[in-house]
Amino acid sequence: MTTLTKSAGFGGYDAHQIASQAAQRRADYWMISGTLLMGCAVLGLIGLPLFFRGIWLQSQAAKAGLTMRPTIVTLIGYLVIIDSALNSIGWTLDLFAHHTLINRVLTTGWGAMFDGGYFWHYNELWLGGAGAPGEKAWEISLIPVLFCARMAAAIGLLQMKRWGQQWLIVTCWMGMIVWFGYNTNMTIFADVRYSHITFPVWGWWLYDIWYITPFLSLPYLHTVNREIFSD
């Protein structure tokens, strides 16, 4: 719950605003540190408690009467950043670092387990990396266009900017198109993607279902009172 403290007297409002900003900044320091680590995938377990500490600080400050960012906005903003970062790690490795040892174990190993597109004829294409039909086009278009734009929009949202909310709506709809387009591609070329894979189809869904951020963000972004975001 976010309320205005009933500070009496001259300058009470300004004092409340300054205290709120300081409290939000303090919580954000924890959450940003946590997100930087969580966005690195393997360091996520160190980042998660830092992030939750930030959430707890924010919640405590709100309970104390300070004007804080709504928890759901905080979760959407940081989750979008983490989602984009994790997607970008895998795809950037595949696009630019396909012959590194870590990629040839991590990505092709993941491919052999969940998605044959990252195992089938891997590193055979002149560009290197995944050679599954259509895969490279998704990578080249989504890393610079979608994920960068979503991260920028999420930062704007976390700053409670109107453009952040609007651009997150735009990029979440782009995310919807990606989900439908990507899964249609995988279905059409299902033999390449799932034949002789350790955990075919259900394994892929179990692994990737946590990336459904756009589906959780859009209902909120379209129903929130947008007046809380400033121009």
Binding site: T2, G44, H99, L106
Partner: protein
């Protein structure tokens, strides 16, 4: 009108959507936590599944190549030349049913299967080598058809 309930709503949430926002927030919490835990365990999990620490990362890489290209002679070159051609370019050993929707025919990799594949291959190669070296010494030779009268 329940003013208390209204007062407790988060900033930006109207009463109409308060239940939906509450459930979205819970789902977001679950998603974030699962995503982070999954991200943290993916690399070590895959490495262990594929045979680490029994196999080094480079050995895992080699075994994956052998499965992928159905070719026991494949080795993972590391470090790979920076501007070299793709390692699989021009290979002719990978098995597929080719068509407009190709179907791969490589082996499925279960838990620690790469260790088993490697052990079996090494045992097979050692047996073949032993057979080749022992064949002249034990005096046994392949049967030869009797000359025609």
């Amino acid at each position: 009108m329940n003013t208390k309930a209204k007062k407790d709503l988060p900033l930006g949430t109207t009463e109409t959507y308060s239940t939906m926002h509450k459930w979205l927030q819970r789902a977001l919490f679950v998603c974030l936590t699962c995503l982070v835990i999954e991200g943290a365990f993916t690399l070590p999990g895959i490495a262990i599944w594929m045979g680490w620490p029994t196999l080094s990362l480079q050995q895992i890489c080699s075994e994956l190549e052998k499965v992928r290209y159905s070719d026991d002679s494949r080795e993972c070159i590391y470090p790979y030349p920076l501007f070299g051609p793709s390692e699989g370019a021009g290979q002719t050993t990978a098995k597929d049913v080719w068509g407009i929707q190709p179907k791969p025919l490589y082996r499925r990799i279960g838990f620690r299967d790469l260790v088993r594949f490697r052990d079996e291959r090494l045992a097979r190669q050692a047996a073949e080598k032993k057979k080749q070296t022992e064949a002249p010494d034990d005096g046994t030779q392949a049967p030869v058809a009797a000359p025609a009268p």
